[in-house]
Structure formats: structure tokens, C-alpha cells
């Protein structure tokens, strides 16, 4: 959008012309943008109108608080003020901008620029107009801040395991979705991880980055106060290389750094660089990439949970020794791949989602079933013994002995760890030559490393005492 225009002539005529031009621009902008426009004041009837310049935004910063569907927008522009009265329009039509949160501040020549009044011109919908007195003529950097809804973000991850599944590359990205009604060009994006319970806490977060920036603090405070008063409004009307060398691409952008800051239970991520976040578009931005993260490929079998399937897990820790641990990892979807051949061919392993992962947290990603690891339990023998009867001749106690055989096979070309879990009820005791651990009163697990292509068999006998035969 071309934001510059020149007007000259008598004010009485030129303002009219200016307003027509402005109206035209606003109509365009109302459809797509929250528009800013500088107009000249009609202080004297025959004064000459100077150059009026409305440049594009110089900077835009978005701080997105997912948990409350709120984004703090801070934008700066260079505006050319004339000495005396200036008018500046801001429209929020067809956007989800909260007009009660809008704030204007001169970042340069602040002592010479004063906002005298705000009005709501009736000729255009959902527009406010600042009346600004300037003791300075020339270029002024101004900052406009406001809150908007409709911008959200989500995290996703890609795990690329080496062929032996002992190391992996782990990369994170964030996808920003903009349905706010407004385009944000070349925006710096900051993301808040964690749940914001009170709007006041947003202010605390915002102050983190710019402790001296009172304006931001004020607008946040204002927002919180407005929230307290339950102002209501209608929103819609205003309206590196992978293991083995596989690289990752994010919208054609090379992976950049995201600066992270810890804030007790929150975390502030700042995406390095700038991106255009257009309305009704989503943009995927690289977040981090860790190489040679130690990982364990772990398999689980538990009939009651997954039937005959053997489930595959990748296990790792979000810690410094694991090449991670610089920050907590937000909730997100994970896709896992593994190198399967010498020419670095990748195969899809599985996908899952992870919950918020604090630093030093152990992570277990369930990646679905894997038919290359097989567990086949067979009931070999069943006996009911030790029958006891009451005076009426009814059975009041008995003992059941089950003998199970497990065939286990690893058809993969790499060693794996298999975890088989068995559940028992009542007064039970287990006899087996295989090593096992008791998980709780009703569950045991057999954890066995399996070499590549290894096949083995083990058995156990479980005795369960029922009725009066039970001893506990």
C-alpha cells in the first residue's frame, strides 16, 4: 500500500480533497488493515498544506499469548509532523483489535509531541482520531500499541534418528496462525509458553524485555484494568544437517535462533529475524535444532492396553547432557524418522504429540506399533486345584495355576529394548526363570534387551488363590 501523498492548495479545498483521498485509502485499508493516516489540521483557512507522509510500518512486534488468545502488537512508524496541530487516524474495522487498548506514543521528540484529544469520527466506522499538538516540525518516530485477538501459535517437532537409533537430531518449529484481520509485515514474533492466568501477569512478561519501556507497561496495565471492569466489545465487527546429512527446511528459511528467556513458570521465545504474518495465513518458523541427542528406542507390550501390538517409543531427556535443556519445550506434534540405509534413505517411524516438557524432564514419545518386534503369549497349561467347599457343598475357595510361554522376536537390524507387562488380580504369586520387576501390587514387567534379529522364549507360572484359599 502506497502510504505517501502530497497535497497542496487551500486548506478548505485541500482538506476536502485530502479527506477524499484518505477515505479512499481507509476503505481499502478497512478491508485489510488497521490504517494509520496523517491529516492536516485546518487551523487557518488559507494556510498552505505541507507534505503529508504516511510511511509503512518501520517495525512490528507481536507478542503472542496463546492461553488467553491475546497478542500485544507494537509498531513504529516515521511520521512527518508539522508544527501545531496534527491528526492521526487509526481504524480497527474488520479486525479483532481491541480499541480500548490502543495507545500512541512519540518515541522521538517526545517532549514536543502531545496527544490532546481522541475523537471517533462518524464518517468512517470503527475509527479513532488522535489530535496531536507538535512543537516540532519534521520526522517523528511514533509507536502504536494495542492488543488483538485471533493470532495463535503452535509448536511442532521433527526427530531424525540415526540408523542405530542411539542418536537423533531433534528440531522444533513454531507455526503462527493469523486470523486477526490484519497483515503484519516484517514482524518480530515473540511467543509466550505457559498458561497466563491473570492479565496482570502479561504485563510482567512484557516488562521483561523492555523494563524501561513504560509505554508498553502502561498499555498492559490499562488492558488489565479494562479487563477488571469487564469492558465488552464486539470483536468481529471491528471489529543444520541431520544425522547422516538430511537437512531440514522451514518455508525455505534456514534455521535461525530463537532467543528464550525464563520467567518462572512462563517462557518467552523470540523468533530471530522478521517475517510477514499475513492475515488468514499461517507461517512456520524454525525454533531450534539439536544434533546427536541420545535416544533410546524402547518397545512395550501390554495386552490390556494395546492388544497384540508392540508399541515403539523414543526416549530422551530435555537436558544439557542430551544437547537440549536450554528451555522447556511447548506442547506440540512430533514426527519421527529414521535412517534405514547406507545412502541415508529415511523412513517414517511415527507421529505423536508431546505435552509441555520442562527442562531436565524425561520424555517418552509413543510412535505407534511396530510389527518388526513381535510378542506372542501362549497359555500352555491351566489347572484349578485346592478346591474348598462350604457346608452346603458350594465351592468357597480354589487355586488356579496358569503356565504362559512368551515367544519374542526382534526382526530389526538393530538391537532394541522390550518391556513386557503383565497384570494379575487377587492373591497371586509368580514363578519364572526370567528376570522381572514388580511395578505395583497387580503388575510386573520384563525388560529385556534384544539383539538384532534375536528370537527368544521365556515362560512363567502364576498361581492365583481365590475365595477362602486367598491369604491376602
Amino acid at each position: 500500500m502506497n502510504m505517501a501523498m502530497k497535497v497542496s492548495g487551500k486548506v478548505g479545498e485541500s482538506v476536502s480533497g485530502t479527506r477524499r483521498s484518505l477515505t479512499h485509502r481507509l476503505t481499502h485499508s478497512l478491508t485489510y488493515f488497521a490504517a494509520l493516516a496523517v491529516m492536516l489540521l485546518t487551523t487557518t483557512t488559507h494556510a498552505r498544506i505541507n507534505v503529508v507522509t504516511l510511511p509503512d510500518r518501520d517495525t512490528v512486534q507481536l507478542t503472542i499469548y496463546n492461553s488467553v488468545d491475546l497478542t500485544l502488537v507494537k509498531e513504529t512508524r516515521h511520521l512527518t509532523f508539522r508544527k501545531g496541530m496534527n491528526k492521526l487516524e487509526f481504524s480497527w474495522a474488520n479486525t479483532l483489535i481491541d480499541p480500548t487498548s490502543v495507545e500512541f506514543k512519540a518515541r522521538t521528540h517526545a517532549d514536543a509531541v502531545e496527544v490532546l484529544d481522541v475523537s471517533f469520527p462518524p464518517r468512517v466506522a470503527n475509527t479513532l482520531e488522535w489530535r496531536i499538538n507538535s512543537e516540532f516540525a519534521g520526522d517523528v518516530v511514533v509507536e502504536i500499541q494495542y492488543f488483538t485477538s485471533g493470532i495463535s501459535w503452535s509448536a511442532d517437532y521433527v526427530a531424525e534418528a540415526a540408523r542405530d537409533e542411539k542418536l537423533m537430531n531433534f528440531a522444533g518449529a513454531v507455526r503462527v496462525n493469523n486470523n486477526s484481520g490484519e497483515d503484519y509485515e516484517n514482524a518480530q514474533v515473540r511467543l509466550v509458553v505457559g498458561v497466563i492466568r491473570l492479565v496482570e501477569e502479561i504485563a510482567q512478561l512484557a516488562r521483561r524485555d523492555e523494563a524501561k519501556d513504560k509505554a508498553m507497561t502502561d498499555v498492559l496495565k490499562s488492558k488489565s484494568e479494562l479487563g477488571k471492569k469487564m469492558y465488552t466489545r464486539s470483536r468481529g465487527a471491528r471489529a543444520g544437517g541431520a544425522v547422516g546429512g538430511l537437512g531440514m527446511e522451514f518455508d525455505g528459511i534456514e534455521a535461525r535462533q530463537i532467543v528464550k528467556e525464563g520467567l518462572s513458570e512462563y517462557f518467552l521465545y523470540t523468533v530471530e529475524g522478521r517475517d510477514t504474518i499475513a492475515n488468514r495465513w499461517s507461517k512456520r518458523l524454525p525454533s531450534f535444532r539439536a544434533e546427536k541427542v541420545p535416544v533410546t528406542s524402547y518397545y512395550k507390550f501390554e495386552k490390556e492396553r494395546w492388544g497384540d501390538n508392540v508399541m515403539r517409543y523414543y526416549r530422551f531427556t530435555n537436558s544439557t547432557p542430551s544437547q537440549l535443556g536450554n528451555e522447556p519445550l511447548p506442547d506440540g506434534a512430533v514426527k519421527a524418522f529414521r535412517i534405514v540405509s547406507d545412502d541415508q534413505l529415511y523412513s517414517f517411524v511415527g507421529s505423536t504429540s508431546v505435552k509441555y516438557i520442562p527442562v531436565n524432564e524425561f520424555v517418552e514419545m509413543e510412535l505407534g506399533s511396530d510389527r518388526e518386534v513381535m510378542v506372542k503369549p501362549t497359555l500352555m497349561d491351566w489347572q484349578k486345584t485346592d478346591l474348598q467347599f462350604d457346608q452346603q457343598g458350594d465351592v468357597k475357595g480354589w487355586t488356579v495355576k496358569d503356565t504362559w510361554q512368551f515367544e519374542v522376536q526382534n526382526s530389526k537390524d538393530i538391537p532394541v529394548v522390550l518391556d513386557i507387562r503383565r497384570n494379575f488380580a487377587g492373591d497371586w504369586s509368580l514363578t519364572t526363570a526370567a528376570k522381572y520387576e514388580k511395578v505395583d501390587a497387580r503388575k510386573v514387567k520384563y525388560v529385556m534387551p534384544l539383539a538384532a534379529s534375536e528370537k527368544l522364549t521365556f515362560t512363567y507360572e502364576v498361581i492365583t488363590r481365590h475365595g477362602t484359599s486367598a491369604t491376602k
Partner: protein
């Protein structure tokens, strides 16, 4: 002045329908009217006004949307230089929907500025006084404080 009340049930369907009607009216008629000229401008304004009025009649219990609709009606009348009708609609926002503070603030300021610019300063000052009386609070947002400051300045003139 159109009447709004709270007798109707505030069901989710009514909330959604009222909101959709308001949004479509704003987007399809009111906003485009600002860019139109002549008879087309008048047609769009009248259509928007008719739909806002219809919304207020059909969904009187929808406070936020009704308050916005009444204020929008005031804006249309003001654009048509019908000052008295505009002020009436603006005043109705505060009378009927006093809890819709942001809408009330805008409506009163709209009425006050309209009257002031028309040279009807005594009438304008009544609205500026209302603004100062109601919104001159320490914990208000920056924009509200600016409106109050501007109103004080007008009252001092």
C-alpha cells in the same frame, strides 16, 4: 430512538445471529458507504441504517451489539448531517446500555464533538460533562484518559 430491552432470552443462537447481522451490516454497507459518493453512498447508508434498526428491534437483549448498532446509527445520521437524529441515537447508547462503557464513551464523545463543531456548545458541554463525571478514573486506560483530558479542555473553553 429505537428501543432495546432485556426481555428476550439470551441464547447462544441469538447471540451468534445478532453478531452476524451486525458484522455483515458493517462490512457490506456501513464501511463501503464511507468510500462511496452521491446516491450510492446514500443507498449504502440507508441500507446500513435499516439493518441496524432491524437488529435492535429483533435482538434487544444483545446489549453489546445493540449498543454498537445504536452508535453506528448515530454515525450514519451524523454523516448525513442530521445532527439532532445523530445525537438522539448517541444518547440512547448511554441511556439504554449503560454497562457498555466503551460504546457509551464513544457515543457521548461523538455527540459532544458533533454538537461542538455545529456551534451548539452548551449542548455539547452536557456530554463532555457526562464523560468527565463518569470516566475520570485513575485506573482507566490511556485512551479513555485522553478522551477525558480532551473533554476537560473543551469544558474549560
Amino acid at each position: 430512538m429505537l428501543g432495546c430491552n432485556s426481555r428476550q432470552q439470551d441464547t447462544p443462537e441469538r447471540v451468534r445471529t445478532a453478531k452476524e447481522l451486525f458484522d455483515s451490516t458493517t462490512k457490506e454497507f456501513h464501511v463501503p458507504s464511507a468510500a462511496a459518493n452521491g446516491t450510492e453512498r446514500l443507498r449504502l447508508q440507508n441500507e446500513a441504517a435499516s439493518r441496524y434498526a432491524d437488529l435492535v428491534k429483533r435482538f434487544p437483549e444483545q446489549s453489546n451489539v445493540c449498543a454498537q448498532a445504536l452508535r453506528s446509527l448515530g454515525n450514519i445520521r451524523a454523516s448525513q448531517t442530521n445532527i439532532d437524529a445523530a445525537v438522539k441515537e448517541f444518547a440512547a447508547v448511554g441511556d439504554r446500555y449503560p454497562t457498555q462503557e466503551w460504546e457509551v464513551l464513544q457515543a457521548w464523545k461523538g455527540a459532544a464533538d458533533l454538537l461542538w463543531d455545529a456551534g451548539r456548545r452548551d449542548e455539547a458541554k452536557k456530554f463532555y460533562t457526562q464523560i468527565v463525571t463518569r470516566f475520570d478514573r485513575a485506573d482507566e486506560s490511556a485512551i479513555v484518559k485522553t478522551v477525558v483530558r480532551g473533554s476537560r479542555a473543551k469544558l474549560a473553553e
